[in-house]
């Protein structure tokens, strides 16, 4: 849609409705955009590719903001919708168990993305499309929030979970189920579990404190048998 420079736009922030957190908002010609992803300056190509993917192939209204030290991608929102979207939903009856720390969800997403990248890299585009379809199915069965559309799933697979605003509000049992199903899926694609090691390496992106906490939690969860 637009490729803009810093002087073209206005960046403000709004207060997150429930958390003590500011959300960066980009204003341009009366439209508002929220931050989706940030790339350092040396990843200009990746930033452009993602922006092109979102605008051309997925028909999204996106802004690519080019600054000297970084590139960022912003998606169009309406402010009232944004505030509504961000308030955490009440736990539904289908899932018991509390909301886990968002860090655990981020960790799971890192692992999921690592599997997905591996499928795409090693097994080719056809298999990665099939993987997306299987994942949709999986999210549907587990009634995961924020995964209703293919676009939403692709976002989960491509956006940096540590830099996006907030991971989806999934419950603890859902995370456990996702971890188990993810492993099952990986096994059916790779035919073995040699991918375990590579996927767990993705957790190195977390801070060492978060990583230790997540692994502690994983060790005690039913998903430990397949992953550790």
């Amino acid at each position: 849609m637009f490729i803009l420079k810093r002087q073209d736009v206005d960046i403000t922030s709004v207060q997150h409705p429930t958390k003590d957190q500011k959300i960066p908002i980009l204003n341009y010609q009366g439209m508002t955009f929220r931050l989706l992803n940030i790339f350092p300056a040396n990843q200009q190509d990746e930033a452009r590719a993602l922006w092109r993917e979102l605008t051309d192939n997925q028909g999204k209204a996106c802004v690519l903001l080019e600054e000297t030290e970084r590139y960022s991608i912003w998606g169009k929102v309406r402010l009232e919708q944004l505030v509504g979207e961000l308030s955490v939903p009440k736990p539904s009856k289908a899932t018991s168990g509390g909301v886990v720390s968002p860090v655990f969800t981020q960790a799971c997403l890192l692992m999921l993305q690592a599997i997905y990248i591996d499928v795409e890299d090693l097994l080719g585009a056809k298999q990665s499309e099939a993987f997306q379809r299987d994942l949709m199915q999986l999210f549907k069965q587990g009634q995961f929030a924020n995964t209703a559309t293919p676009d939403a799933v692709i976002q989960l697979l491509t956006f940096d979970p540590l830099n996006s605003l907030q991971p989806p509000p999934w419950q603890e049992p859902q995370l456990v189920k996702l971890l188990q199903d993810m492993h099952h899926l990986g096994k059916s694609y790779f035919g073995g579990n040699s991918f375990n090691k590579r996927v767990l390496e993705a957790l190195d992106d977390l801070s060492s404190y978060d990583r230790t906490r997540f692994l502690e939690w994983l060790k005690q969860s039913p998903a430990a048998t397949v992953w550790l």
Partner: protein, 328 residues
């Protein structure tokens, strides 16, 4: 990283080795005189082939003992053992032909070749059945066409099989005045019984010349001889099965780095098929065929390509795209 540079060296070495082999065959396979090939040529091809299979075995087993390998380790263990059996089979084959100066169309090596095919079929089959392929209609069509072609050629080549000669009439190792010119053959398009094309030759042959040949050699040949035609046919069918498996894999993973290694393995099975088809043709239709014909380069190339496939997969499994969207 030391490991990856070693793998890169293995890949480059296999490619150069392949070119060298091809040149060796191209330049000297026509050097046959009325006496057959010069001894240095026969030894040269034998050594090239033995070395190629040995190297392939090492590279495949290296994958089998690596915990990072993308295919399961069982697959590579099976392929590695298949290469080992082929290597041992070649030793017997060479001993039979060069050491004992017998016709090599059957030798105890065949027992190891059979084992080798069993290993290859089971392990490559595993590679297909343990993962989801998500193939499309046209891809099934391609695979079906490959299979049909392989089987048809095998049947055509086997159509002219000799009825097995009784053991008493085994061909003696050829004398200098034996015919070296190939007998022109009309390949029948349908598997019909044709007159044995070298019946006159068998008739000429006196009682087998067994001087200087151990009794057990004659006994083994006598035992294996009835299976001669069947074995050649079975090898071609087994090659076809391997070709189908490898084609399936590289079509299914088209575009991924995993497909690189299976493309090599598909090429390897194709070379194996070509060489086996030629050998079947030559031992059936050409009198006193001595191995070393140009198309036998397929055996060496197939070993080289198996090794190359193993090395490529090792590289793909160990050097990967950073599995993270975040980079420091």
């Amino acid at each position: 990283m030391k490991k990856s540079s070693l793998t890169l060296f293995a890949i480059q070495f296999e490619i150069l080795f392949g070119f060298f082999t091809l040149l060796f065959f191209l330049l000297f396979s026509s050097s046959a005189t009325g006496q057959g090939y010069p001894i240095w040529y026969s030894r040269g091809t034998t050594i090239l082939e033995l070395f190629a299979f040995f190297l392939a075995m090492i590279l495949c087993l290296r994958n089998a003992f690596s915990s990072m390998i993308v295919s399961s380790r069982k697959v590579w263990l099976g392929i590695g053992l298949g290469m080992l059996c082929y290597f041992v089979g070649n030793i017997f084959f060479a001993y039979w032909e060069l050491g004992l100066k017998r016709e090599p169309d059957v030798s105890p090596g065949d027992l190891f070749y059979i084992l080798s095919y069993l290993f290859l079929m089971v392990s490559m089959g595993l590679a297909v059945f343990e993962r989801r392929l998500n193939l499309e209609g046209w891809q099934y069509g391609v695979i079906g066409a490959v299979g049909a072609m392989g089987v048809v050629v095998a049947i055509v080549l086997s159509a002219g099989d000799q009825p097995a000669a009784p053991a008493a009439q085994l061909n003696p190792f050829h004398t200098p005045k034996a015919i070296a010119a190939p007998v022109p053959v009309k390949t029948p398009l349908l598997p019909v019984q044709v007159a044995p094309s070298f019946a006159p030759l068998v008739a000429q042959a006196a009682a087998p010349v067994t001087t200087g040949v151990p009794g057990w050699v004659v006994a083994i040949e006598g035992f294996l001889d009835p299976f001669k035609g069947l074995l050649g046919f079975l090898y071609l069918i087994a090659d076809t099965v391997l070709l189908i498996i490898a084609t399936t894999l590289f079509l299914a993973f088209w575009g991924g780095r995993f497909a690189q290694s299976w493309r090599m393995i598909a090429a390897a099975t194709f070379c194996l098929y070509i060489a086996d088809a030629w050998f079947k043709f030559a031992t059936t239709r050409l009198p006193n065929y001595q191995s070393g014909g140009l198309l036998e380069v397929g055996w060496v190339l197939s070993a080289i390509l198996f090794g190359l496939g193993a090395a490529l997969e090792y590289r793909a499994s160990h050097q990967r795209r950073a599995s993270s969207r975040r980079r420091a």
